[in-house]
Amino acid sequence: MIPAVAMAHPVRRVSTPTLARVFLRSLFLQAAWNPRGMQNLGFADAITPALRELYPEPAECAKALARHLEFFNCHPYLAAAILGGAVHLEERVAGGQAPPEVVSSFKRALGPPFAALGDGFFWLAIRPAAALLAAATEPFLGLGCVFVFLALYNAVHLPARVWLFATGYARGEGVVDAVRRAHLASGTALLKACGAALAGALAARGVLAAGFPDRPFHALLIASTMVLAWAILPRLGPTRAVYGGLLLGLALGARFV
């Protein structure tokens, strides 16, 4: 039996080509990142094709657009799930099955936790691990290490982004459960451990490069510089540490030959 509300407002669906356009536009989510609305403009721009299809009347569409111009911030990749979910909910709003406020509440509720999840996994785990692996393989692969980095990172990033968008669209609020089951947090710890080991390998490479063929004292100096830099980095910051390193290296390097 069809509910009375659904009969009064037939369900409106966004077509697949339009969904593809929404996804492609989501790749420009941070094009106009601003301190007041953060990713609001990017989000509104991405969802515009879906809104135009759901609200053929321009004034109605502009009204729907205005609610997506409110503050929004998330990790740029995880935001795909929220965008997909927002399209799903907009279909319900356009069909009269949900009030417009449900879309804003959905975005507000998921933005911060998804941002934390994405930052931890993509920015603080997989990106450093992929970059360190690429740097560690450079002596063996040469320029091929660049492809190692891009392939490793994007083999995870791009499918994740597509999956998040598709899952968000298919499940609406249910995307939370799907993301929870993806176990991103447990992968983070493993990637960080791999990253630490690779960073150690790179440190060894720096020491060996300075010390060989017959310069053990130089190797010791470089190793000491590494430990010193590691210890004072939080206070000094990378820029001053680099200048400090350059000066120290100049002083020591004058006797390197």
Partner: protein, 243 residues
Amino acid sequence: MLPLPAGGAPQLFFLAAVAALIGGLSAIERKGAFQLMLSRPIVLAPILGWGMGDAQGGLLLGIPLELLFLGGVNLGGSLPDNESLLAAAMTAAVIPAGLAARTGVDAPLAAVGLALLLPLAFFGRRLERASEARNTELMEEALERAAAGDPDAARVNLRGLLLPFGAAAGICAICVLVSPVLAFVRLKCRPAELSALEGAWHAVWAVAAACAIRAIRDPRAPALAAICAATVVAITLAIRGLS
């Protein structure tokens, strides 16, 4: 007379155009579009180097820069130093300098380039703040247009890419055009000075490795890194001892 790459001034201007295009695109890829990590130093420097005729030289610059800025993360409203602008500008200056000096990219040239251009990472962050302020104006424009009933009000989003593109492109072009000065400095270095600069580059590697370990924000990271480093050194020494 300043040294120029083979092909003279026209070639220098061609390289400036290449650097401007790749540097500008990297600036928008970094945050505004795609984020496929093409603008990370380890990728950008070899690509730009390839565009200017020395991909290997670009890689020599890109790896330490990647490690130095590995921990820089854009969380919420915080901005890290702009590693992409530094990588693009440094590659744009050092590669043509190496071509002009006929030395290629070597440690002394890289050390001088880094010492001169490192402040660009900080400047890039200021530039990003300015770009964000401009984006706030775009947002206000979109709000007004939406209130007036324009369903395409949010299309102004893409205009946010113009300022980062233009600024990075201009900086990269300038870096190429001043690269003959860098080549001149490189050619005037005496052996003792070259040795000192080589030592400086080794020290940069040391700081970069320390930054990379710090970038793994995990309490176990230093111990794991130390164990791994000791193992690699021991295995290498054993292999060399046997051979």
